[in-house]
């Protein structure tokens, strides 16, 4: 096994069982104030609906809870610990001022149905963020309601459907490149569109000839990620848009990779009709172990009548309010107004950056990805030599000769103190290593990453078993996922 891992050193971490295993009757972490009204007789009030027993809910003290979750937390890798180059996920720094302002009393505790008169603060935040996102994307209007990127995709396709319906030409299918995120086809299915696969060309871009051949009046839209999942900007984007528009189709942009474009180019200027943004990617709201996200959808004017309800409007007296009377709206996609707490964070991020900061951020993200590409080219196979934007995709072709695959290299990277890149995606690259450093990495951190990846490549040649058995330094070694799926244990039960 190679020594000289520079970034990480093993250290003791605490063992911790399940919280249920610490529970015993009579321990408590709560205290309610004395009741200032008469006690209620639950059985008289509820009758048969009264619940007598809460089963195996835990009984533990406060210090045990603090230690429990603190111990668990130390078993996680996180951006706060180091580079998290999970391609497509944009694991950038999550500024702490965002967290502070989201917790200010009137913002954290506003009720969604409180009168508009005393909601002007929240509505102003919605308005200011909306205006900034419209400017950043070059679009005409926006809805903040969708709760995540995939939810935004659904909202977008609902608007596409409503648009075509209003044109009197309902259409049947959506074109999706073979390099797309899995959410794109899953979303199209939810909105009852047939999915038609669009092959990429040798440069990893949309094959213009194929698109022209496949485009007809049954096609409602093309769902395009730009830069695509190879980190490649679709250079012929104007031709793509023209081909779609000529036959009445719409260009939907999956904005998952918008962090490569902010302040440098605007999708609204290159022919996009509608797009979603992921506030938890480009706009720094925390990923939180898998969410919450937020997936606003920005649109061109012609789609405005179809926005989900309600729509934020400025009233004649200058105050802000919601408009519910929208006869052509696709309806509601979520209760209330969306993941408001994420809007607060995203706006704080935009304010902290300003136009110059956002541009520099984009430039640094692209600079970092290219720096890593340069550092690893030759060591790992680069299936597409097309210029890289914010992420770079290698393949495990060279290492596979030794029986080592992308997942093995990823697991070994853990021993070197890094979170792995995205493995086995996009699907058009067999054995993909999808690396997205984001702008948040310093040169030193990336030098360590390149060094680690090179070192692993050497190990693959000299001692492949070490890589195949990795990780070696974690609390648990590789886990048996097959057993987990074959006989699922999805909850704790007493006596197990």
């Amino acid at each position: 096994m190679k020594d000289g891992i520079r970034k990480a050193t093993r250290h003791v971490n605490q063992n911790e069982g399940l919280i249920f295993e610490k529970s015993s009757a009579g321990k408590a972490a709560w205290k309610l104030p004395p009741l200032d009204v008469p006690e209620a007789d639950a059985s008289a009030l509820l009758g048969a609906a009264e619940r007598k027993d809460l089963g195996n809910m835990p009984e533990v003290s406060e210090i045990e809870i603090i230690r429990h979750f603190t111990r668990l937390s130390t078993w996680n890798y996180a951006i706060d610990l180091g580079m998290y180059p999970l391609g497509s996920c944009t694991m950038k720094y999550n500024p702490r001022v965002n967290e502070a302002v989201a917790r200010v009393e009137g913002i954290a505790n506003g009720h969604p149905y409180q009168p508009e008169k005393i909601s002007q603060g929240a509505l102003r935040i919605l308005k200011t963020l909306s205006e900034a996102l419209i400017e950043i994307t070059g679009m005409d209007a926006i809805t903040l309601q969708p709760a995540a990127g995939a939810h935004g995709e659904m909202t977008g396709l609902l608007m596409v459907r409503a648009y075509h319906h209003s044109q009197g030409r309902p259409r049947k299918k959506v074109l999706i490149p073979d390099s797309a995120h899995g959410t794109n086809p899953a979303t199209a299915a939810m909105v009852d569109y047939a999915v038609e696969n669009l092959k990429s060309n040798a440069q990893g871009m949309v094959d213009i000839g194929a698109l022209a051949a496949q485009m007809n009046e049954d096609v409602a839209a093309l769902m395009l990620t730009n830069p695509n999942t190879l980190g490649v900007f679709e250079q012929e984007i104007h031709k793509i848009a023209d081909i779609l528009h000529a036959k009445g189709g719409l260009l939907y942009m999956d904005g998952a990779n918008m962090n490569a474009l902010v302040g440098k180019v605007r999708p609204g200027d290159f022919g996009v009709d509608l797009m979603h943004l992921n506030l938890h990617k480009t706009f720094s709201t925390p990923h939180g172990g898998g969410g919450p996200g937020s997936g606003p959808v920005a649109i061109k004017k012609k789609l405005e009548p179809f926005l989900p309800k309600p729509v934020l409007v400025t009233k004649s007296d200058g105050t802000l309010g919601f408009e519910y009377d929208r006869p052509q709206s696709v309806g509601r996609v979520r209760a209330f107004y969306g993941n408001f707490g994420m809007f607060v964070r995203a706006l704080a991020y935009i304010q902290a950056n300003g136009p110059d900061g956002l541009r520099q951020t984009t430039e640094d993200a692209v600079l970092n990805a290219n720096y890593i590409r340069k550092g690893l080219e030759g060591t790992y196979d680069l299936p597409y030599s097309t210029p890289t934007m914010h992420e770079v995709v290698f393949s495990d072709k060279l290492q596979a000769k030794k029986g080592v695959r992308t997942m093995d290299i990823a697991k070994r990277l853990i021993d070197y103190g890094f979170h792995p890149y995205t493995t086995a995606f996009p699907l058009i690259v067999p054995g993909a290593l999808m690396i997205e450093p984001t702008e948040s990495e310093s040169k030193e951190e990336m030098d360590l990453f390149v060094e680690a990846m090179k070192s692993i490549a050497e190990e693959v040649v000299e001692d492949p078993q070490t890589v195949l058995d990795a990780p070696h330094s974690t609390r648990v070694s590789r886990l048996d996922e097959t057993a987990a799926a074959r006989k699922p244990i999805l909850r704790w039960k007493p006596g197990t």
Partner: protein, 460 residues
Amino acid sequence: MRYLPKSPADREAMLKAIGARSIDDLFAPIPAEYRLNRDLAIPRQMAESEIVDYFRERSLENGEGYKNFLGAGAYLHYRPVIIDSLISRGEFLTAYTPYQAEISQGTLQSIFEFQTMICELTGMEVANASMYDGSTAAAEAVMMAVRLTGRRSVVVSRSLHPEYREVLATYATHQGMPLSVASFGDDGRLNVKEIEKSITQDTACVLIQSPNFFGTIENVAAIAEIAHKAGAMLVVSIAEAVSLGIVEPPRQADIIAMEAQSFGVPMGFGGPYCGVIATREKFVRQMPGRLVGQTVDTKGRRGFVLTLATREQHIRREKATSNICTNQALVALMVNIFMTVYGKVGLKELAKQNLAKTAYAAAQFAKHGTVLFSGAPRFNEFVVETSEDPYAINSRLLGHKIIGGLPLRKFYPELGNAVLWCCTELTTRSAIDAAVGLVAESERSVGSAKEEADIEEVTR
């Protein structure tokens, strides 16, 4: 820019290493005619202190310091301090979906505990790692029932949160799922006879909420029987999770779609919240969303992984059970910590306090207005009908820094001047008395105005 860890010299060195003359070289793939050659027209870069000031000002414009009697799907409960201490740990806050199990055991184990506690509280056998919120969870639960039964139509209760109904309608439109609505009776509960009439051989499920939008607890057993007899499923939405401390869970349901916001999640003007779907083990392969399962590592040690991923979009693409990817993990962690803090005894005591405050408030209001739906048990919400226009009453209450209940006319025109009030453990007796006093005053002034009008009529 203070979030960017590079000096100009670093950037120079990196460009040189890449072999680029300037940063513009790296953006050459973008056709020149589309490149933005100006600053974005957005607010200038602000100092941290300015950002904090900006949001404090917005907070002051946003009902800060008002007493609140609104519920209707968003509830003000006390949030134990340790929730924010723990979720602020960077290892939870700044991690992503636990794809790499070996370095995500903290998130994975906490989700496993979350799934377990949701099962304990709902009486179900499996629960997922979270959905966006209660409304989308309900819509996805209905789609799950459609897949499981092979039937297509849905009977929806009119006492389900009106916005949940709207969301379901949006989801159902393009999936060929006809919806029919069953209304409620004089006791605020779903009209069982009407459900019986609405169910057909094509009914995939009946969707109800309990406690329902009016706070009334539905007769779940009776509705389940009707649904099951017709071969349909029962999906129950729970919007007020604290009710589970003292209200029997809908164990007869096939799928429960929950909103767990009440468990330690700030009201936050409507989100982010935490939806969850819980169901029977035999239905798990049609469940949407992420699931964590227990397994062992190569040395036989217990560990946790994301499992049954073949249901999900990144594997199944257009054949997935849902398109959901990012969920509400950090919010689910808040919920998890809240459930752990209150636990077996605390949740019950907490729910009892909600019950007591509400019983007191409803009794006080009954002296001056009509409390509707009083024939059936309720949890922490109740409906009061007044003679005066509820918006006028609320406007008077606002002047005393009290946010009154939700006027129901917007969603239920047939309920006229009825208002949905909510009390939780945080509602003080003095606030209740103050609100009741102001409503009584309004009613008296309406009464005397009416009397004067009557007298005028007589004398004319």
